[in-house]
């Protein structure tokens, strides 16, 4: 068990690094219908009255913000009432995104007070991503130019405490990473720098060695990606779609394009675990939602605004994000896996926010949307009282073969989520 072992822990993503020879040998014989998991993060919670169904079980009335999912009523379930504990001493907003998938309890604050820790997607990657070109794919649609806030605002995926997986924001660069032809020069460079790093290791003090360890693992991961991309390229003649030309102007197109790339990498089995940060809890940064409002609007401020119409606007943003989610479900259903099945059947698509009521900064009673063939669909699974969000992640892990007794502050498995 890696969980909670502390910062000094050897960087955890190493343990999926099989020797390349083994890896290359195993890839063609990968299991016929591998399972995939994608997490989609939206910020600032949801405007509760229009998001949470009023009755539990089945046959509930579709709330206003979820109307975009009406056609997919039987493709997803909504889980409500799960809780995460807020860790005092750090920014309430910064914790939303950075701790959504770590769900670490407050006393596990190993990262300068922040309870970041190895996130559920990274645990999944260690099992599902063993043989894929990328163990996991981290994407984001946060295209702001200034790095105004600390990294906790934008990092949903963490290899370990304080060790964020960086995200790729430009669809063109995602495309190149997935389908680009490896530069032959790169392998020589990687060999060389690896030799250099090995030689250097002995000369360094403890702290330096930690940093170097990160570096070396990154080199290994890159070597691995290049090696596996050669194998993947050998299987197809050209990239399946044309290369995107940078970031689309239209907000919805941007999110959809990132989702397309994510599912394309699932379809071609280049990766089986992905995260997509739609937006972080940014302050004072207006965002244009094309087709929803005619000018840029500030999501975070709206959550606290008492102005007339602000709640309606909030609801529209939620509905906008739900529509993107509906698009993703549709896309999954239309996509065939390599063995002819539907990608939807093999994928679990999870969307949620690290906060429930954005105004109250409430970390309790979170809502999570879950879709995919593995999920019991059409239900509103409602939890009363205190039930950790970590139970949902623990359940997801165990379902996907990551057998663990505990995850973060989890208590027990949730029996009725998956079919």
């Amino acid at each position: 068990m890696l969980k909670g072992a502390g910062v000094s822990l050897a960087l955890p993503f190493l343990d999926i690094m099989k020797p390349l020879e083994t890896l290359a040998a195993t890839v063609p014989g990968a299991p016929a219908s591998p399972k995939r998991v994608a997490f989609v993060y939206t910020p600032n919670g949801f405007w509760q009255p229009d998001f949470v169904p009023t009755t539990a079980g089945v046959g509930w009335k579709m709330p206003k913000s979820l109307m975009g999912l009406e056609h997919h009523r039987n493709d997803f379930s909504i889980v409500t009432g799960l809780d995460r504990k807020f860790a005092g001493g750090t920014s309430t907003h910064g914790q939303c995104c950075s701790c959504w998938l770590s769900s670490s309890p407050a006393d596990e604050a190993l990262d300068g007070g922040f309870p970041t820790n190895r996130t559920v997607d990274q645990f999944l990657a260690s099992k599902l991503g063993e043989n894929t070109m990328l163990p996991s794919l981290e994407l984001s649609c946060v295209d702001f130019n200034d790095n105004k806030e600390s990294r906790y605002y934008e990092s949903v995926s963490w290899y370990g405490p304080g060790y964020a997986a960086n995200t790729e924001k430009d669809p063109q660069l995602v495309f190149r990473r997935l389908f680009g032809k490896p530069d032959p020069q790169t392998s020589s460079v990687l060999d060389a720098v690896m030799d250099e790093a090995k030689a250097l290791r002995g000369e360094l003090g403890y702290n330096d060695r930690q940093k170097l360890e990160e570096y070396m693992q990154s080199v290994r991961a890159t070597e691995r990606r290049i090696e596996l991309s050669k194998i993947a390229m050998a299987k197809r003649s050209k990239p399946p779609i044309p290369e995107p030309k940078g970031i689309p102007e239209d907000r919805s197109e941007y999110i959809k394009l990132m989702a397309d790339l994510m599912f394309l990498s699932f379809q071609l089995d280049l990766t089986r675990v992905a995260t997509l940060v739609v937006d972080p809890e940014r302050w004072a940064t207006p965002r244009m939602y094309h087709g929803v409002f005619d000018k840029p609007i500030e999501h975070h401020k709206l959550t606290h605004s008492k102005e007339e119409g602000s709640k309606e606007k909030l609801q529209k943003i939620d509905a906008f994000h739900v529509e993107q989610y509906a698009y993703m479900i549709e896309k999954l259903k239309q996509t065939q896996t390599e063995d002819g099945g539907s990608l939807f059947d093999e994928t679990t698509l999870i969307m949620g926010s690290g906060i429930s009521d954005g105004d109250k900064h409430d970390f309790a009673d979170l809502q999570v949307l879950m879709a995919g063939g593995q999920i019991r669909r059409g239900e509103h699974i409602k939890f009363q009282g205190e039930r950790p969000l970590a139970d949902l992640w623990l359940t997801t892990l165990n379902r996907h073969g990551v057998e663990q007794q505990r995850f973060a502050d989890s208590e027990r498995l949730i029996p009725n989520i998956f079919v």
């Binding site: 309430t92 300068g112 790095n147 105004k148 460079v189 720098v193 003090g205 990154s218 004072a284 109250k360």
Partner: protein, 1007 residues
């Protein structure tokens, strides 16, 4: 009726103590104190040695804290996770001093004990307690025998440092890639080397976010996020992920394979073993270089009647000298000859090489770094062959040409230089030609150019094998500035300074000419630079083997070298700043080596690698000698690269890097948007105003107190207007030097780029607190935010940011409120502050925030707020009442030491790239004392920091130290410390649940 605080989790937990309760507390406490004192005494005598703290903690700290703090921070209540009763054991307490630094800050800010308590320490008691804690924190670490200097710097180069390092490594004149956070200004000359700022200057601004001249315009690296309450150079906040690594490898690949890179960096060209001719002609792979013969005569058409007034020589003399030099093979004339038959665009990278020398063996090169075109220009008269060189982009009227005496031989130097600026029909205005020498020294000539061709002539001092010539015709009419013939006379090779066989350090820069050395030698020289220290033979061998491998696979020498260079630029020793624990392993603390020190200095002051002189000094191991050290630091502060300290440290310190994200409402605040397209905003002006103040203090070595209280400010026409000082404009314009203010053909835009150093008689402005930038930054599009402004003050000015609120709250008016009694914002805050949980912080935030209510959301003075209510900007700070920005500033200046301390901490943290810990407090106090004695001069601050232990020393490998964990309440009592097992219950003396059987109880303070 009343505003109420909404939110479910506010605990009304502050108890009001009754008289009885206080008595009983006192009774509870007093006995242990006596006992403790006694025990301490006993321990000291029995052991026969003095306690390391000499009773400081038990006599001067504990009695006070027991009296005032124990009610909330005993082992039962442990509010905020703090259990003061755990501090009963000397060793344990010393090992957990981080918590006492926190306690110090809370006490100092009068946040603790909660100000609304009625049992508070007297000012004297508080002051004595603070002094005692300060002394206690300064006690050397018992495990180290001295103050902990902190761990070695381990950090990846951040985006800015990467850019600057590559730039300096290859001798580029501009950024490698677009830095979105690079300030959108261009200022030449930079005044650092002059030691003084002028009274007025032109600051050119490009639109924020627009492209600017860089080597790789379509590439880049992701930027770093800054840490909460800190800067973006913090090592602990930068990790390397596979994605990041791929980006490093990939950008290094782009760099080495980019054709223009060879042109722009002669060092790189030489490293590849190539020379200039390889870049010219049809087979150059697209660089578009042109190789031409030297002209016979300078300005052969004899049509240059005018001369710049300050020329070093006349046109006639120059032509005679050139004729004489030509016979010795040391003159080159570029007269824009035949190959330029048709219109040609020379964007950065395409090189013009002119053959000259007795056997035509030399290459005078002209390398434009901004786009220039070679064209026949109708309204200008060419000086020779009918062509001229103009700016490619209309209206820019500004370009740079880098001239190299001999691109193949660095020993050749330029001795004199002449060029012709072409007059155009019916246009006129001032034109400035500036020559920047190798050592950054600049020579400028300004001439009023009418429609006649004008000659500019320069003597070039020894030492410049290449110079940059900047033609600035922005004050000239029309859209273009045109240049005709350009000629140089050179030094004739042999007298240049380069000696190709020198060891690397006296010639640490790889220069043109190195191409004649073996590939391994060239690579070795390059690696010395890239690793910012001498590379070992083994290291060079390792990278040289890449070269050989590539060669054996059939690559050309140049291509093989490209892979080797890409590898060096992707290697950990380039990407990380590592302080290797090399030879000196004696003791828990070591002095940094000279080379490590050189690196710390250059990344602190320049955000880049050391330059040649710093390298040389470090390599001679003389850098750490006090006089040499100080001389180097002072030299570095006069180097133009010191601008990074203003543009990075100061901008981040003031949070102005976030200003572009602020969007004042366009309807309400029209003054913020200066033109109809609303593209020109006050964002730029506000940043420049603050940066210029910082630079003035830095360049003129003024008192840092001027940062918050100055009797001058840098303003342009816009700001004079916004600040309602525009009545002075005419006077200021009249006083500006002629060449800056000339209005012939000058657009309004240019005029607004003229900045004046305006003396202020009224202190409403002056200092960063009342500048438009911070005031706008801390407002929302429509309203001011006293909370944001108060927070900004506490964080920026005092470096004492308030803790994150325990929960979110929203000021909400009761729905049944009587509309006839509207509450002002201020009244609502006061209601909020009445809540004891909120009071502790808001007691500090609100007075600062409300003082600044005198300014509207874009920083203009106002009397009424946006809702029409009269602004009340009164309050009390430092015990002094204020009711205006002027009296507020006086109240702040009652205790300038609090600002000074905060500023030292900010800069020290930036300098060493880490969070400050309790053990750094002694250093901060020392620097503060020195500053007080020396008039708070900026240079003393820099010297204080670079001479301090945290900057000069480091812990050696795996030294056990105490309290180096992150400051976190829970860590005050690490579960694994044995001391924790010895806790005893206050009442019965029985071990608590954490005690383990079999561990003998030691005599603790609290028994």
């Amino acid at each position: 009726m009343l505003p109420r605080v909404r939110g479910s989790s506010i605990k009304r937990s502050v108890r009001l103590r009754t008289e009885d309760k206080r008595n009983s507390t006192w009774l509870n406490c007093s006995a242990p104190i006596c006992l403790k004192a006694l025990l301490l005494f006993c321990c000291a005598t029995v052991d026969g040695e003095e306690s390391p703290t000499d009773g400081l903690f038990s006599n001067r700290i504990l009695p006070v804290t027991d009296n005032y703090c124990l009610d909330c921070h005993d082992d039962n209540t442990t509010k905020g996770g703090l259990d003061l009763e755990s501090f009963y054991d000397e060793a344990h307490t010393l090992a957990n001093r981080a918590i006492w630094k926190k306690a110090y800050d809370m006490l100092d800010a009068e946040m603790m004990p909660p100000p609304k308590e009625d049992h508070l320490p007297s000012p004297t008691e508080r002051a004595e307690l603070l002094a005692a804690i300060e002394e206690y924190l300064a006690i050397p670490d018992p495990n180290l025998g001295q103050t902990n200097p902190g761990k070695p710097i381990v950090s990846r180069l951040n985006r800015l440092q990467y850019n600057n390092t590559v730039r300096d490594l290859f001798g580029l004149d501009h950024d490698v890639f677009i830095l979105p956070d690079r300030l959108p200004t261009r200022r030449d000359p930079y005044y650092a080397e002059k030691g003084g700022m002028p009274d007025s200057m032109i600051v050119n601004i490009r639109e924020f976010g627009s492209k600017y001249t860089v080597l790789l315009p379509f590439s880049g690296l992701p930027g770093e996020n800054r840490v909460a309450h800190g800067f973006n150079n913090r090592g602990d906040a930068m990790n390397v992920s596979p994605l990041q690594l791929e980006k490093y490898v990939s950008i290094a690949g782009e760099l080495v394979n980019y054709q223009n890179f060879m042109v722009e960096s002669p060092r790189f060209l030489a490293l590849l073993g190539l020379d200039v001719d390889a870049l010219c002609g049809p087979d150059t792979g697209g660089t578009g270089g042109v190789l031409v013969e030297s002209g016979q005569q300078f300005a052969a058409r004899d049509n240059v009647p005018a001369s710049a007034p300050d020329n070093d020589f006349s046109l006639t003399d120059f032509r005679q000298d050139l004729q004489a030099a030509r016979t010795q093979g040391r003159a080159a004339v570029f007269d824009i000859p035949n190959p330029f038959q048709k219109e040609l665009l020379f964007d950065s990278g395409a090189i013009i090489a002119v053959k000259y020398g007795s056997e035509n063996e030399r290459r005078f090169t002209i390398n434009p770094t901004y786009g220039v075109s070679i064209i026949p220009y109708e309204t200008a008269e060419s000086t020779a062959n009918g062509l001229c060189m103009v700016n490619s982009h209309g209206n820019e009227k500004y370009f740079d040409l880098v001239l190299a005496a001999d691109a193949n031989d660095p020993r050749e130097e330029i001795r004199s230089l002449g060029l012709c600026v072409l007059g155009m029909n019916e246009l006129s205005g001032y034109v400035t030609v500036t020559v920047t020498l190798s050592d950054h020294q600049r020579i400028s000539r300004t001439a009023y150019v009418g429609d006649e061709n004008t000659f500019f002539g320069f003597d070039i001092p020894e030492g410049s094998s290449s110079v940059k010539v900047t033609i600035d015709g922005q004050a000239y009419g029309g859209k273009y500035i045109a240049v005709g013939d350009i000629a140089i006379a050179t030094s004739q090779g042999t007298v240049g300074r380069g000696n190709l066989s020198d060891p690397w350090i006296t010639k640490n820069r790889l220069k043109p000419g190195w191409k004649d050395h073996s590939p391994r030698t060239r690579l070795g020289y390059f690696m010395n630079d890239a690793f910012r220290r001498k590379a070992t033979e083994e290291e060079v061998d390792r990278f040289y083997s890449i070269y050989r491998n590539e060669k054996s696979r059939g690559a050309s020498s140049a291509d093989a070298m490209r892979v080797a260079v890409q590898s060096v630029l992707s290697s950990p020793q380039f990407l990380f700043r590592l302080e290797k624990d090399a030879s000196r392993k004696d003791g828990p603390i070591r002095e940094l080596s000279d080379m490590e020190l050189a690196n710390r200095l250059s990344y602190f002051l320049w955000a880049s690698m050391p330059d040649r002189e710093l390298f040389e000094t470090a390599n001679r191991e003389t850098l750490s000698e006090p006089s040499a050290f100080e001389a180097q630091v002072r030299r570095m502060m006069r180097d133009p690269k010191i601008r990074e300290l203003a543009e990075t440290f100061a901008v981040q310190w003031l949070r102005l890097d976030q200003i572009y994200a602020t969007k004042p409402d366009r309807e309400v605040f029209k003054a913020f948007y200066r033109d109809r397209l609303e593209e020109d905003t006050l964002h730029d002006d506000y940043i420049i105003e603050a940066v210029l103040l910082f630079e003035t203090i830095m360049v003129e070595d003024r008192s840092i107190l001027e940062l918050i209280d100055a009797d001058y400010s840098w303003l342009n026409a816009f700001l004079l207007d916004v600040y309602e000082l525009d009545d002075r404009q005419e006077g200021l314009l009249a006083a500006a030097p002629q060449h800056l203010k000339d209005t012939t053909g000058v657009t309004d835009r240019t005029r607004y780029h003229l900045w004046y150093r305006v003396p202020l008689t009224d202190k409403t402005r002056g200092g960063v607190m009342t500048m438009g930038g911070p005031l706008t930054l801390t407002s929302t599009p429509l309203e001011t935010s006293p909370i944001k402004r108060g927070n900004w003050m506490l964080e920026t000015i005092y470096n004492r940011p308030p803790p994150e609120p325990a929960m979110a709250f929203v000021l909400e008016e009761d729905e049944n409120a009587d509309a006839s009694e509207p509450k002002t914002l201020r009244e609502m805050f006061e209601m909020h502050r009445d809540n004891p949980s909120c009071y502790t912080c808001h007691n500090r935030i609100d007075p600062l925030g409300f003082a600044l209510e005198a300014f509207d959301p874009i920083g203009r003075l106002r009397e009424k707020d946006t809702k029409g209510a009269v602004v009340d900007a009164s309050g009390i700070w430092n015990g002094k009442a204020y009711d205006s920005p002027v009296s507020f500033k006086s109240a702040i200046m009652e205790r300038p030491e609090n600002f000074v301390r905060g500023f030292i901490e900010h800069m020290l943290s930036y300098a060493i790239g880490r969070k400050l810990e309790y053990y750094d407090m002694a250093t901060v106090c020392d620097i503060q004392q020195t500053l007080e004695q020396r008039g708070y001069r900026f240079s003393e601050l820099i010297l204080g920091i670079v001479k301090s232990d945290p900057f000069r020393k480091t812990l050696t490998e795996s030294t056990p130290v105490s309290g180096s964990q992150p400051t976190h309440a829970k860590l005050a009592i690490p579960p694994s410390t044995s001391a924790n097992m010895l806790r005893r219950d206050k009442e019965g003396g029985t071990p608590t649940k954490s005690a383990k059987a079999g561990v003998p109880a030691l005599a603790g303070f609290r028994n």
